[in-house]
Symmetry: C2
Subunit: 546 residues, 2 copies
């Protein structure tokens, strides 16, 4: 038998844009056909976008998704692509009306098989038992004499179920449709897992993932093929459109090596995830530009650099809003940043406005500090309302964890917060990484060196630095990682050697800040545990680790 | 056999306050013993509070919950109450470490039986498959020769499972531990269901519910007993502490009637739910007072009346923040309201502050309107920071649905929004109901008549009314109810006879406002479908009903 040419189509759909996503699928199939493919595998729920949350429960949406698959099969046939076998994810409906997470197999203008996802993830960011009924039957389709097993995402993460059943089916290939969100280091876990599953079914495994941003999730792509013996046969790279073409040889011989690209380093992946999340939030919500406060500090500098990478510096508006406590170097650093990335830069002093408030309210202490911060928020929202830019928030994960930020200030308002899941230590690291990348490319580093090296300060009172109120960030971020991401109790934290006073202070800050986190803008998940739907805790809670 | 005296203890715990909740349980057991009870049934997860969300996954929390049950059994014994059989809900842990939603049966200083909730709700506001492992075995305990079956909440809402199994056990009583959140009309559904289950097991059913507010949920209590033939034997009333005592007679004779209180009308229940949600958010989070903007309009008037009912008018700070567009009658109405409820009333004109912003920004149109609204938000947050009051938001459900409100204004900032799930039509109705209640009590109606009768307006430009931008509220609320609460598509809405232009306008407004809803404060669920975790939709979505 001659080889079967397989295309893995890694595309970036938009939730709810059923017509637009179908057009992307069709275009990918044309590209695959142009490259000689006979089988095209597409990601999980790519027709509807993913995750669709409670849209799955809406009958009008279910009907539209069902129609789209029929139309796609017909369009493929009408465009002379009826000979292609196309495996594509969408929303299914059982005879009793319950929705499913479905893979449709299309050939010759019609659907020839279907598979409903068996294992429905209901942890972390996932709520699939809320919206989907599980499938019960395995799916094997024959393409040019090859036996192709079909499963969806979580099905390979759980023991038993459809993969175990398929091990008995003498497969030639296991096709896995995925909507697997990015988190740092997950690529290695996925490939190890895929190797085990390929060995289990005794055939190569083709892993096809979505890419693109959707609210608080980023899908990184990184589609690949591994052989039953674990050999790395082909991969598509991350954070980009790709139609990866690879030839499935006969079971009797070995498998050929396909195209392989290097994985990017972790910093590069995290940075790309933030940029992707931001760009897709902007673009998919119909914006063309963003506005943010530029304080001269590292958070707004990194956020602005990401925005420039996402949509072009000329679409970024940076507003310096100095107060009486802002240092001269902060203003210089902000101006320098704007110049480096080519942003529209404006200076809007807040003193006359703060004075008008103070003539009425006469606030002091923290209330006065917060007032300055909130005046900046009102200014940004005003500029946004006037000019149509999306406001983006430069707050970072350490701040969000501890509540060390004024609610409704320029750091925490708006539509999207690119650094929401990036702790302060990582903010500095990513800034250095981004500047180093520019240097290797012979470009101007986007972030002023001074913004990276100076002591962090909110500059809301004379001589203030963050370390007046918080432990040093390297220590703070270690404690946060253990308490938040690993859910360790006080006993475990003390057993690790952390100082009791530091632990008690940090835990108290984290526990009391939940109400602020609930009102925070969306931002991209890049760690194993992000604030938001990944970590659901009550606001009202008297639980204290003791 | 003599009758078995049963106590249903309807108490109001606080999530995470394991020691405090255990003390409440102990006090209820003492009260029950004082009334001669031999069996005390307490609500679902009352030891930990409910719902505890991802706290269930934290090992330190699991250990504390397990310890608390052992301590409770010992304390009962030490206080001479070891003879009582106490059935109490808490967090359990299986031998493999997975947490469960558990009922513990305590007697003689130790645990004599346990039951793990079998059916785990994972729809609406519930995420129980995320955090709990399901139980598999039924539980029947013997108390003074009576056979008592034990199940938890959702177990009676699903066919099959433990109730079906218990039908074979010749029970004398089915004890149901509940954490069932309020929604309008749910009391009738619960009692119909309980009658069916009592008939199914052929024995009386004792339904014990939590009461009190927890973030966006309100538990209404309304604990009761029904006989196998559907006779209403006893009930505790809603929104209050109660130890309801009732005698279980022999199977051979009929059952005696216990104490029965009338159900309140729907308006009274919805009003009580809002007051309970607000009061418990304030108290359980350690606040003693609230501050809100008083515009003279109906939303802030009703919110202030609820706040006065929740924590006393003397703990309510009302701030009138007139602009150049505020009418004289608005100021008069705000002052009148404050006087009626005994609030601390202040007038803070915004003109000098708005002028200071405008000297810098020169905003026009909607941007200028929003600026005025946000200045009010900054003033309230400043007063809150200075004086420690919780800011409460008077925005209503119609506004939140359509996004007809300025984000970060005085209507949408702060910690809690009592009217979040009350649409505008209902706001007027509840205001009239509350005033009528005052009249029947011979008290001054809290809400100025003028605030109820005048045309609603944000007063952000000359002569503005809400109906410049929105359909009339009675029509709007009907469309919203059909589209949001019943998830009807455009076709269904048109088939009901709604005008296509109105439908398209409303759907567009609702779909585009999701990002604002995500940043809204918590507020109490009082309908079958509240915004928040009850309705999970993507922000980024191109889905449009066509």
């Amino acid at each position: 038998m001659s080889a079967l040419r397989v295309a893995l189509a890694q595309i970036n759909p938009c939730v709810g844009d059923i017509a637009g996503n179908s057009a992307l699928v069709l275009a990918a199939c044309r590209q695959a056909a142009g490259a000689g493919a006979q089988l095209v595998v597409l990601p999980e729920m790519v027709i509807t976008g993913y995750p669709i949350e409670d849209l799955a429960l809406r009958e009008s949406f279910q009907r539209a998704a069902a129609r789209a698959v029929i139309d796609l099969a017909r369009d493929l046939e009408e465009q002379g692509l009826g000979y292609l076998t196309v495996i594509v994810g969408s929303l299914g409906t059982l005879p009793d009306g319950r929705p499913t997470n479905r893979a449709h197999v299309l050939l010759g203008g019609e659907q020839v098989a279907e598979y409903d996802k068996h294992h429905l993830p209901n942890y972390g960011v996932f709520d699939e038992r809320r919206i989907f009924a599980p499938g019960a039957s395995p799916c094997v389709v024959s393409v040019q004499g090859r036996r192709i097993g079909v499963v969806i995402c979580e099905d390979i993460w759980q023991e038993g179920g459809p993969v175990a059943a398929l091990a008995e089916h003498n497969l030639d290939l296991l096709a896995v449709l995925n909507g697997s969100p990015f988190e740092e280091g997950k690529g290695r876990v996925r490939t190890d897992l895929a190797r085990r599953r390929a060995a289990q079914v005794g055939a190569p495994l083709a892993y096809v993932n979505l890419w693109g941003g959707q609210d608080d999730l980023v899908f990184d792509g990184h589609s690949f093929v591994v052989a039953a013996d674990g050999t790395w046969l082909a991969n598509a790279g991350g954070f980009r459109d790709a139609v990866l073409v690879w030839d499935l040889e006969d079971r009797t011989g070995g498998q050929d090596q396909g195209p392989v690209v290097d994985f990017a380093a972790d910093d590069a992946q995290v940075y790309s995830a933030c940029v992707t999340g931001l760009r897709d939030y902007v673009v998919k919500n119909g914006f063309t530009s963003v506005v943010l406060g530029m304080s001269g500090g590292i958070d707004s500098a990194l956020t602005a650099a990401m925005a420039a990478d996402a949509i072009g510096g000329e679409h970024v508006v940076g507003v310096s809003m100095p107060s009486q406590y802002s240092s001269e170097h902060s203003r210089d650093d902000a101006a320098d940043l704007a110049k480096r990335i080519g942003a529209d830069y404006r200076v809007q002093p807040i003193a006359p406005i703060v004075e008008a408030f103070q003539a009425e309210l006469a606030l002091t202490g923290v209330a006065e500090e917060n007032l300055q911060a909130r005046v900046r928020g009102v200014i940004l929202m005003g500029i946004s309302n006037r000019e149509g830019h999306l406001v983006i928030a430069p707050g970072n994960k350490s701040e969000l964890a501890t509540g060390y930020a004024t609610i409704y200030d320029a750091g925490s308002i708006g539509g999207f917060a690119p650094l929401k899941d990036v702790d302060k230590s990582r903010v500095w690291q990513l800034a250095r990484w981004r500047n180093a990348l520019a240097e290797t490319r012979g470009e101007t580093p986007p972030i002023p060196e001074n913004s990276i090296t100076k002591a962090p300060s909110a500059e809301l009172r004379p001589g203030q630095t963050d370390q007046d109120s918080l432990p040093p960030y390297d220590l703070l971020d270690e404690v946060l990682d253990a308490y938040v991401e690993h859910a360790e109790g006080r006993d475990e934290l003390l057993a690790r050697g952390f100082d009791a006073a530091v632990v008690d202070r940090v835990l108290q800050l984290v526990d009391r800040a939940e109400w602020k986190r609930r009102q925070y803008p969306l931002g991209p998940k890049v760690t194993a545990l992000a604030f938001g739907r990944d970590r659901r805790l009550p606001v009202t809670s008297r639980w204290r680790e003791v």
